[in-house]
């Protein structure tokens, strides 16, 4: 019996890749994991030796085109689990799962401020990876802040998907210019009560509620500022017609006239619908705001190699593989999500995207969005603000 193939099938049936999951999906996953573990122990030693590359990631790297191409080129299977949130996955590594995972893909601050100081990831050879940064969009010119350790001596990962994450409007109801001018005050306007939704990406909601309260999300807050945050959080949550962690549900609510706008959102949440011709769904990055005068928030994903005691020989190969032009295109269009990638400065990569695909992620406004944005960072008062946020959600009931 071909055990390695069976194990691969079981691993690929991991329901965690299809968030949100329900109880039944979780039970199926537990069953598959148990079966895979059992089968693995029955495998001959030669089959166990070539272990799979394991990856904790966001959804850009689980497209079958990406995974299968890597397997074909490097003769290594890839197993993955999708994140629930950045801190959740960092805590998995902190809890000892560095011996499980080989690659981790997280937003801006985690590598530099948490994982490298805590010895959870390894340094990348600069001579191998710096040339790739040279070819990327100007914002990534090496040494790129978020890819480097705080002392700027160590390269911690490679970047690819990038954009801002702000809010979405239906341009048939609210013009893009009005959204940009009004910024986060759009949701402070009493006339908007019951006309907007919230995409429940909790950490992003908290940052955006800070901006709505006139506060810098990435600076420590005084008690008065925390009180301001609470007032805004409660008003926004109580004023929301729908709160969902499924952006398709919110896009559908806009298209059916249930709501006119939602936050948090952006090209990440609307590009697939725009690709289908629903161009009235529009990512708005505010022109200005409370974060050093900026109102948008810029995220980048950094791919790093985990400090696994049994370091996978193909870990750096993976990080180089995802920067190849054909794979860049796969990542930029992975799973129906269309997103800007740092490699779009390379004409060979840009040529792979159609006009419709570029329009889907509003490429014409990309520079404006980045200029209007503060860079995503750790929220210093996160625990305190999160407790307020969840209490407001419960009290809405």
């Amino acid at each position: 019996m071909d055990y390695s193939r069976l194990v691969k099938q079981l691993a690929h049936s991991n329901p965690l890749r299809h968030a949100p999951m329900n109880r039944r999906d979780a039970l199926k996953g537990i069953g598959a994991t148990a079966a895979a573990a059992g089968m693995a122990s029955m495998m001959p030693p030669s089959a166990q030796a070539a272990r799979e590359l394991t990856m904790l990631t966001w959804d850009g790297y689980v497209d079958t085109r990406v995974l299968d191409t890597f397997t074909d080129r490097h003769k290594t299977n890839v197993k993955y689990e999708l994140h629930t949130s950045d801190p959740d996955s960092v805590n998995k590594l902190r809890a000892g799962q560095t011996n499980i995972w080989d690659i981790i893909n997280l937003n801006n601050p985690w590598a530099r401020e948490i994982m490298w100081p805590e010895n959870l990831i390894v340094e990348l050879p600069r001579e191998r990876f710096d040339p790739y940064f040279e070819k990327m969009l100007p914002m990534f010119k090496p040494p790129y802040k978020w890819a480097m350790s705080q002392d700027e001596a160590h390269l911690l990962g490679v970047c690819q998907r990038v954009d801002t994450f702000d809010f979405v409007v239906n341009t048939d109801k609210i013009s893009a210019d009005m959204g940009k001018d009004q910024g986060w005050d759009l949701f402070n306007d009493p006339k908007m009560k019951g006309k907007y939704g919230i995409l429940a990406y909790d950490n992003w909601n908290i940052m955006h509620m800070c901006l709505g309260a006139g506060l810098h999300p990435f600076k420590e807050k005084t008690d008065d500022q925390v009180a301001k945050f609470e007032k805004t959080a409660r008003a926004w949550i109580n004023g929301a017609k729908v709160i969902s962690d499924d952006f398709n549900a919110l896009n559908l609510a806009i298209l059916n006239g249930e709501i006119d706008a939602y936050f948090s959102g952006g090209t990440y949440s609307v590009s697939a619908a725009r690709m289908e011709g629903e161009n009235q769904l529009y990512h708005v990055a505010p022109k200005s705001g409370a974060a050093d005068g900026k109102g948008a928030i810029n995220w980048i994903e950094l791919n790093s190699a985990v400090n696994n005691p049994d370091f996978h020989p193909a870990a750096f190969d993976w990080l180089e593989f995802i920067l190849q032009p054909d794979v860049c295109y796969y990542v930029g269009t992975a799973g129906g999500f269309l997103l800007p990638i740092g490699q779009l400065s390379d004409p060979e990569v840009l040529a792979k995207f159609s006009k419709e695909e570029l329009n889907a992620f509003q490429w014409d406004e990309f520079d404006y969005r980045i200029e209007s944005a503060v860079e995503y960072d750790v929220v210093p008062d996160y625990n305190k603000l999160y407790d307020i946020y969840t209490a407001a959600l419960r009290d809405k009931s």
């Binding site: 949100p20 329900n22 109880r23 039944r24 999906d25 629930t84 949130s85 801190p87 959740d88 805590n91 902190r94 809890a95 939704g197 429940a200 909790d202 950490n203 017609k241 729908v242 709160i243 969902s244 962690d245 499924d246 549900a249 559908l252 609510a253 298209l255 059916n256 006239g257 249930e258 625990n383 999160y386 407790d387 969840t390 209490a391 959600l393 419960r394 009290d395 809405k396 009931s397």
Partner: protein, 290 residues
């Protein structure tokens, strides 16, 4: 000559020996994880190992931070959904056990088939039915009558609809089993002795079918208490159920001890209700033991 070896007081019976594998599985797969959850619930907030000093602060947090509202809504909706399932299921179960004859198998399949489809998918299907404007129901009503229904989503009513729809089969089948246990001869005897239809139902059929009905009630209620997708997909998070609060604490908040404390309280509350109901059910009788 033969000598009889006296039975050792520590010798296990055949039944006990057979139960060892299941007992071990129960210890590893059920008792151990629950013990970990219980242990975490007494640790300081936002700790990830069993190293902190024991504290009751998570339970205190539960009572001071308004989680009881979440419990009230969750248990209230679960209770309402159980009542709805009970009312809808009784005639169906009665029909399956007594009336439909050869059609019973086909009707059973109709109720079973949806279970093969992911719960999330089925609820998204309901979203498409209930949506304002382009929703199937709103559009049809508007087309036929010119009347604008407004939104039918994002409230307790749509959550109740989702719970009732999803958990209906868990009520129907135990109830059908219970009703099928009622001997026809006993019904006929009651009728011959002059009981009217209502008396037969109240004093013969219902008491005999009650274990099946109670099992259905229990299954539906417990599953509905742990439900999360209905409030998320149909309710637009207008209500945050217990399971969602626990998920919040274990994921974004990374506050495992508080999540554990909420879990422990939910388990204790549901456990009390289950023991209360089970103490009134004769499983032997339900399963035809006597």
């Amino acid at each position: 000559m033969t000598t009889r070896v006296p039975a050792s007081p520590f010798r296990l019976s055949a039944g006990a020996k057979c139960a060892i594998p299941l007992g071990l599985l129960f210890l590893v797969a059920f008792v151990a994880p629950l013990s970990i959850v219980l242990g975490f619930s007494f640790l300081p907030e936002r700790t990830f190992g069993f190293t902190g000093e024991l504290t009751l602060e998570n339970y205190e947090h539960f009572f001071t931070e308004g989680y009881y509202g979440t419990f009230l809504w969750t248990f209230g909706l679960a209770f309402a959904a159980t009542c709805c399932c009970l009312v809808i299921s009784y005639p169906v179960a009665y029909g399956l056990a007594r009336v439909f004859g050869g059609w019973a198998a086909i009707i059973t399949l109709i109720f079973v088939f949806p279970i093969f489809v992911s719960e999330n998918l089925r609820l998204v299907g309901w979203t498409l039915v209930l949506l304002k404007g382009g929703g199937v129901l709103a559009y049809t009503i508007n087309m036929l009558t010119g009347f604008e229904t407004g939104t039918l989503l994002y409230g307790p009513g749509s959550i109740l609809l989702g719970l009732t729809y999803v958990y209906l089969p868990f009520m129907i089948f135990p109830m059908t089993l219970g009703i099928s246990m009622v001997p026809k001869e006993q019904v006929e005897a009651a009728s011959d002795l002059g009981a009217n239809r209502l008396q037969i139902w109240r004093e013969v059929e219902l008491p005999i079918a009650m274990p099946g009905i109670l099992i259905g009630v229990l299954l539906t209620f417990v599953l509905a208490v742990g439900a999360i997708a209905e409030a998320k997909i149909l309710g637009g998070q207008s209500i945050v159920p217990i399971a969602h609060s626990i998920q919040h604490e274990f994921t974004y908040a990374q506050n495992w001890p508080l999540g554990s404390a909420i879990s422990v309280l939910a388990i204790v509350l549901v456990g009390i209700m289950v023991f209360f109901v089970l103490s009134r059910v004769d499983l032997d009788r339900l399963l035809g033991g006597r």
